[in-house]
């Protein structure tokens, strides 16, 4: 199951002080692929990212069919918690429940494990913004930035170098673009190949999950490209300076 995820489309998540960014590479791109919503923008799900509740969302890497079962389960559990306790489900509680279920499939029954890795982004009043990663074995851990799917080791090492404590949301989006640029197979990035979503708090302290639309994504891609070009130019200058010496 882990192997299968290693071949799936990449997804990465970055925690910043005012929100979480989830980014994913769309593995299947074709002219024939029909958009499910007839062009309308959805804030609930796209190919790799799904909203679990108002305050929680996941990015998926692996078998989408397995992911759908787990996401449905997570959605129901979150609602059941809200029904009983009249508060949004705490993020870690939900993930523990989900991972306990995944672990059951590795120990009992003789059924195969779920072939999905998740990156959970969530906010609750107890711990603020949180990013968790869980894999088919049922292991989970909290992260400041993580990547799953293809080339995730390269992505994680890059994130280790570049992640800083006080990044804000926009800078995190740019960082995600930078990392994806290096680890994805294609040389140029466009909104058709990428999916970006953010989990933030709006003015009245309510968490909000948004999937970035094409124009917004384009703006960030433009910005990232300009920053990249600037960095490349500075590197060139440094090299010239060294050569000159």
């Amino acid at each position: 199951a882990m192997e299968c995820i290693g071949h799936a489309g990449a997804a990465l998540g970055i925690l910043s002080k005012n929100g979480i960014v989830l980014a994913a590479e769309k593995k299947v791109q074709s002219k024939l692929l029909d958009n499910e919503f007839n062009g309308k923008h959805s804030d609930t799900s796209c190919e790799k990212m799904f909203k679990i509740d108002d305050h929680m969302a996941v990015a998926v890497a692996g078998l989408t069919s397995d992911a759908n079962i787990l996401i449905n389960w997570a959605r129901t559990v979150a609602q059941r918690h809200t029904l009983q306790y009249q508060e949004p489900a705490p993020v870690e509680l939900l993930i523990q429940g989900l991972c306990d279920m995944k672990q059951g499939y590795t120990q009992f029954g003789g059924q195969r494990p779920f072939g999905v890795s998740f990156l959970f982004a969530g906010w609750d009043v107890y711990l603020g913004f949180q990013l968790y990663h869980s894999d088919p074995s049922g292991n989970y851990a909290a992260w400041k930035a993580n990547a799953i799917g293809s080339n995730n080791t390269a992505a994680v090492s890059m994130l280790k170098q570049e992640w800083k404590e006080d990044l804000d949301l926009d800078q995190s989006i740019l960082l995600a673009i930078k990392v994806l640029l290096k680890t994805m197979d294609s040389s140029a990035l466009s909104p058709e190949k990428l999916e970006f979503s953010t989990l933030t708090l709006n003015e009245d302290y309510k968490p909000r999950f948004r999937i970035l639309g094409a124009e917004e994504l384009n703006k960030y891609l433009q910005q990232a490209k300009e920053i990249q070009e600037k960095e490349d130019r500075e590197k060139e200058k440094k090299k010239e300076a060294e050569k000159g010496k």
């Binding site: 919503f37 609930t44 909203k51 679990i52 959605r75 609602q79 059941r80 809200t82 029904l83």
Partner: protein, 169 residues
């Protein structure tokens, strides 16, 4: 002193009002919220008032032999922004008259007031006047109802909530 709000927003265009036993009102509303949140996540669209009415009717009939003591009203605009009102009894029998629905302790006098005040094709402001007058006239004659009213006018662009002060007795 009791500022219990009886009307609840399910989505921008659909509101539900519950009358009856207060604890059942709260519980039924929480269950409606549960089902409608899941619907919204799975279907990726808002509930239409007709679908919500069917859902609530089913929910109430599930408890056929030990019912929730609540009589809901569902009001909203459907996908083509046509108005829809529906009232149900505690077992889920719905009625969709097309003009107005009433529920609560003074429902008989509300029926009378609405019947005399309602006309078809009212503008939002006229509608607000009509419903407020009907509500207040019926409230004033009922010892159990009173302490103010909240009116929500749902139009296709927005829904406006207004609080009305009335005789505090």
């Amino acid at each position: 002193i009791n500022a219990e709000y009886m009307g609840h927003k399910i989505s921008d265009k659909v509101y539900v009002g519950l009358a009856g036993l207060a604890t059942d009102n709260q519980t039924v509303y929480e269950r409606i919220k549960f089902r409608s949140s899941l619907y919204k996540l799975r279907e990726e669209r808002d509930l239409s008032p007709k679908a919500l009415a069917s859902m609530i009717s089913h929910m109430l009939y599930e408890r056929r032999f030990g019912p929730w003591f609540t009589e809901p009203i569902i009001a909203g605009l459907d996908e083509s922004n046509n108005p829809y009102v529906c009232a149900m009894d505690l077992l889920g029998a719905d009625c969709i008259p097309g003009n107005f629905v009433v529920t609560g302790t003074c429902s008989e006098s509300l029926y009378g007031c609405c019947e005399s005040f309602w006309r078809p094709d009212l503008e939002p402001d006229e509608l607000f006047e009509t419903i407020s007058q009907a509500l207040l006239s019926a409230l004033d004659r009922d010892c159990l109802a009173g302490w103010g009213a909240t009116v929500v006018i749902i139009t296709k662009d927005k829904s406006v909530t207004r609080e009305i002060k009335c005789r505090q007795d």
